[in-house]
């Protein structure tokens, strides 16, 4: 069995190795970073569906730090390392054209991956905070990587919002430690389950959940996301939208709500309505954007609203839908962001109105954007349709007819703003289309097309994961979530010898 510690140690060690030898050997950052991500992806695929707990230093779980690899962590590890791998392949030529220092780029990239892997594996709330800061600080630096005026402005905004969120989380952790006398998630769950929600634990929970909502950029807390995700290099936008928001925000909320505190009716309602507001309002805002990357960034808020919506419903079918939607969003949103990077690579444009007729010059890019857009808008038979269908069926089964109708309206809204992008950029032309410039465009190099084609293929066949239902691909994570705190306590404390 693979030691889970590898997922943290390997990228972190490689980040420092690249920083050391990157100056002497110019090709080494590309090679080492892609090799690392490839190895991590294979390891995470091997680990999927297995569960193991590694006690660092063999301390007992109530004192030491356990690394818990269960079904939910396994799913998140696959998402992180797969999207990281795709984005690393794309970066090889994309970063060469626009940005200067590859060794700094790949160093920060691998540190972000190490932080994210650490968050999903850690079974100790303070280590979650430390890895959260590792991932966040590297991604602040990556957003401002280009050092242009807009990038720096976005990075500073992201940094301030992210820092406030981190401090809320740390304050929540401190209050939780004061109330329960423990930092281990399973031990905290034990205290909460035996003593109930006392007042200090309630306050700590409010601070924690508001911090994680800022990280997840749900609607009242969303203001940093469109700036940060649209200003970053496209390969970084792909991992920010595809994994960073999910892991630092949604994964932590799922773990705390379902495995530590237990989902009460009030918490479920908060998740449900925050999700619903995010779907509708972010959809309307996305429709009004003129920058292609800002449209995609607002769409991230809207689509992740479905995950919160489904988590708020809380039935096993809805949790299944939430996991499926989370996985699908991690496939098609990086695809769209990488395609916006390809368009930027060839045309140097991000404004929708100035582009047009790219389907004649860039057939692969425009076809894969079409597949991604249809998939995200929920058109059958692509993967996005099945996850939204499951979520809406679950809402109807739970007697939430009104919210289900709003979720369908949100899906139609998604289709409308993706049609706008497709018409202006790829299959029609915008108002300020420049014919002269258009003649010199051609398809991007082959190395940038490999991740795009892979992700588009995943969008087409993604629907097969629905087969076997609870016994299939998403069975383990869903079971781990609905089994609740008692199962988590048992699995962490039970296997220590």
């Amino acid at each position: 069995m693979i030691n889970p510690f590898v997922f943290i140690a390997l990228p972190m060690g490689m980040a420092f190795l690249i920083a050391l030898i990157g100056h002497q050997y110019k090709k080494s950052p590309d090679f080492l970073a892609n090799l690392t991500m490839g190895i991590l992806f294979i390891l995470s695929a091997i680990c999927y569906g297995k569960s193991t707990i590694y006690y660092i230093g063999n301390w007992s779980p109530s004192i030491g730090i356990p690394l818990v690899l269960d079904g939910l962590s396994g799913l998140m590890l696959i998402i992180i390392n797969f999207i990281g791998f795709m984005s690393a392949i794309f970066s090889i030529q994309y970063i060469e054209k626009f940005y200067t220092s590859k060794l700094r780029y790949y160093g920060l990239f691998l540190l972000t991956i190490a932080g994210l892997n650490g968050i999903v594996l850690s079974g100790d709330i303070f280590s979650i905070y430390v890895f959260l800061e590792l991932a966040s600080i590297s991604s602040y630096a990556l957003v401002g990587f280009g050092c242009g005026a807009e990038e720096l402005e976005a990075a500073f905004k992201y940094l301030i919002m992210g820092t406030i969120a981190s401090f809320f989380i740390l304050l929540g952790i401190a209050l939780l430690y004061g109330a329960t006398g423990n930092l281990n998630l399973a031990a905290i769950a034990n205290v909460v389950q035996s003593q109930g929600f006392s007042d200090p634990i309630k306050i700590a929970f409010i601070f924690l959940i508001s911090g994680f909502f800022i990280k997840a950029a749900s609607i009242p807390f969303h203001s940093w996301l469109p700036d940060a995700h649209s200003s970053a290099p496209s390969s970084i936008s792909a991992i920010l939208s595809g994994i960073v928001v999910k892991i630092t925000g949604i994964y932590c909320i799922i773990r705390l709500v379902y495995n530590v505190f237990g989902a009460t009716v009030l918490i479920s309602h908060i998740l449900l309505y925050i999700g619903l507001i995010s779907i509708i309002l972010a959809g309307i805002m996305a429709f009004m954007q003129t920058n292609i990357k800002r449209t995609f960034a607002y769409s991230t808020i809207s689509q992740l609203g479905y995950v919160f919506f489904a988590l708020g419903i809380g039935t096993p079918l809805a949790i299944f839908g939430a996991m499926f939607q989370l996985f699908n969003h991690a496939i098609f949103k990086p695809l769209l962001f990488l395609n916006s990077g390809s368009v930027d690579y060839q045309t140097g444009e991000k404004v929708i109105n100035k582009m047009g007729k790219l389907n004649e010059k860039m057939p692969v890019t425009s076809t894969s954007t079409l597949i991604g857009s249809l998939s995200i808008s929920g058109i059958p038979p692509f993967n996005g349709f099945w996850s939204k269908l499951i979520i809406i069926i679950a809402a109807v089964q739970a007697n939430l007819i009104g919210p289900a109708i709003w979720a369908i309206i949100g899906s139609i809204l998604t289709l409308s703003y993706y049609s706008k992008v497709l018409k202006c950029c790829f299959f029609g032309k915008g108002a300020q289309f420049n014919e002269e410039k258009w003649k010199s465009f051609r398809e991007v190099p082959g190395l940038m097309l490999i991740p795009v084609i892979t992700l588009a293929f995943m969008c087409i066949i993604g629907g097969i994961f629905i087969i076997h239902g609870y016994n299939g691909f998403f069975g383990r994570p869903v079971k781990d979530i609905i089994n609740g705190p008692l199962w988590y306590i048992q699995s962490v404390f039970g296997s220590y010898k």
């Binding site: 602040y140 630096a141 402005e153 905004k157 301030i160 930092l183 805002m285």
Partner: protein, 115 residues
Amino acid sequence: MIYALAITVFMVGLYAVCCKKNIIKIIQGVIIMEYALNFFIILLGYRKGGIAPIINKITDMHTFAAQSVDPLPQAIVFISILIGLGLLALMVALAIRLYERYGTFDITEMKKLKG
């Protein structure tokens, strides 16, 4: 009561981050918040008349358990200070680059991003 002081200082820092227009003052607000948090965490392990949590050969374990302060918050604060250092370095570096691009520290004049 002293916990209320820590929370008050935290709120002062939050006010500075939310309401000030100068980037340097915002950074100072972040630092104030961080110090207030560290202070709060240290207070959690405080015990009146407590002894340092160090075990040596002559320590009696019963008096140690009854009198020593909690060492875990001290370790947490240590890590938290290190993270704060990295964050501060990044913030100041961004502030310097922003000043080079815009020629001002006033955030109300930095509005190239809309939305």
